[in-house]
Subunit: 142 residues, 4 copies
């Protein structure tokens, strides 16, 4: 069974805006940081997927910001699979303030998979072992 750890991110000064909080676009970037991290953890890093000719563009984005995040804080980001059928993938995310585990932001991203020719592929048929690895990802936050 795959162990998935949260992604730890120290909030950077350049991520703040003049409202004195993290600019909301960074949550979307942190989702990506976590997504890349969990792919590394299951042994199929995104750089390896790309090397194998697989791209996985973002088709949909959702985020709900409940608490502002500030410079000086550290956050942990957790991801889990919401839906995956080998063709479409939906991941869900939680951004927690590390000091007290308060959930600051939740979100989702939706993806498809493209082959080297830029056309949609079925991971299940084309890359069954990657498909199996993805299936091993947790479906709830751990």
């Amino acid at each position: 069974m795959q162990t998935i750890t949260p992604w730890i991110h120290k909030v950077q000064y350049y991520e703040t805006d003049q409202m004195q909080v993290v600019h909301h676009s960074n949550f979307i970037r942190w989702f990506e940081e976590c997504r890349v991290h969990i792919l590394d953890e299951i042994g199929y890093g995104y750089d390896q997927l790309e090397a194998a000719g697989i791209a996985s563009p973002v088709l949909t984005i959702e985020a709900k910001i409940g608490k502002s995040v500030h410079f000086g804080e550290t956050v942990k980001i957790r991801a889990a699979i919401e839906k995956f059928d080998g063709i479409r993938l939906t991941l869900k995310y939680e951004v927690l303030r590390e000091s007290d585990d308060v959930v600051c932001c939740t979100g989702k991203t939706g993806h498809c998979f493209l082959g080297a020719d830029g056309r949609p592929i079925s991971l299940k048929r084309k890359f069954p072992e990657v498909y199996e690895a993805f299936l091993a990802l947790p479906t709830d936050f751990v």
Copy 2:
């Protein structure tokens, strides 16, 4: 009647990623560019709102990316009010490729309004003239 023009954005090299397309987080930033632009057009620039002690943080984000956008392209971004009651504001957006008006991305952002003390306010009661100006914003893309 307020005339609202689309926001024109030339795609920048630093907005691309190694998939050779605009990184998805930039759509969220372009929504903000357009939001700031239409506030300027109705005569209540976001800098003036802030000077008056009003902040309008982003609470929710949604985006649907249908077509990749590339370096060398110019996009136009249009915004319209989806819902506004003086307390909550939902804006909707369309990102179109300028050369052929193809819609590449659509999205929404949800906002509240905070006063100088950081607490939610009713624009309608506290800043009726700003409230009225917002009401004059189009409710559909023009």
Copy 3:
């Protein structure tokens, strides 16, 4: 004789940081915006250079920030050639506040040219017409 216009940039909210000014890394991005703009103006857009197999990576960066730039302001960025011999290119930049033409930031970027194989090339020998176009760029701010 080539006419080169300054690049106009409206300061964006996401470019600010919690010091309530534009984050310094954006000046480097604005240099790029202007660089791309003047290549467009001489008829050799960076997208066309890339399509022709020419890359022009940044080797050196210098910036001197004399005045902070703020949200709500518009800046114009001017570029000129400092040195160009067909192998190495040094551009210099000025960022001016549009309202009063105060110079807020000056800087330089140094570049080489790489061919499709990722190796340095002489523009003069490999792409003489691009070389000539670059020579037509102003050597002082206009």
Copy 4:
């Protein structure tokens, strides 16, 4: 004697550009990440400095990029004091590829110190204990 550790940064996908390398503006941001990190290590975090009413804007930036950095790589960034007299501070940086310690980028940033009123201050006179802490920073990469 203060122990200063390098700052470890995993290269993120959103930091790449379509040249398939890290966009050069990110080196400037990584310098900041490291700067913030070493202030944390000497016990005067930048958030604490700001809370004490001290700002330390960037006045000058220099960077020399010798090797491209790629997605999938991890870098370590080291900083040391080049010059410090309590009024002006110059830091120098090295970005090394973690896998083989190859130096990919070197650079410098120059800073002054501003008080709560936005005017330059002498750290030495106004905040002698912060001044002393800065003096304890290494003057060479360790």
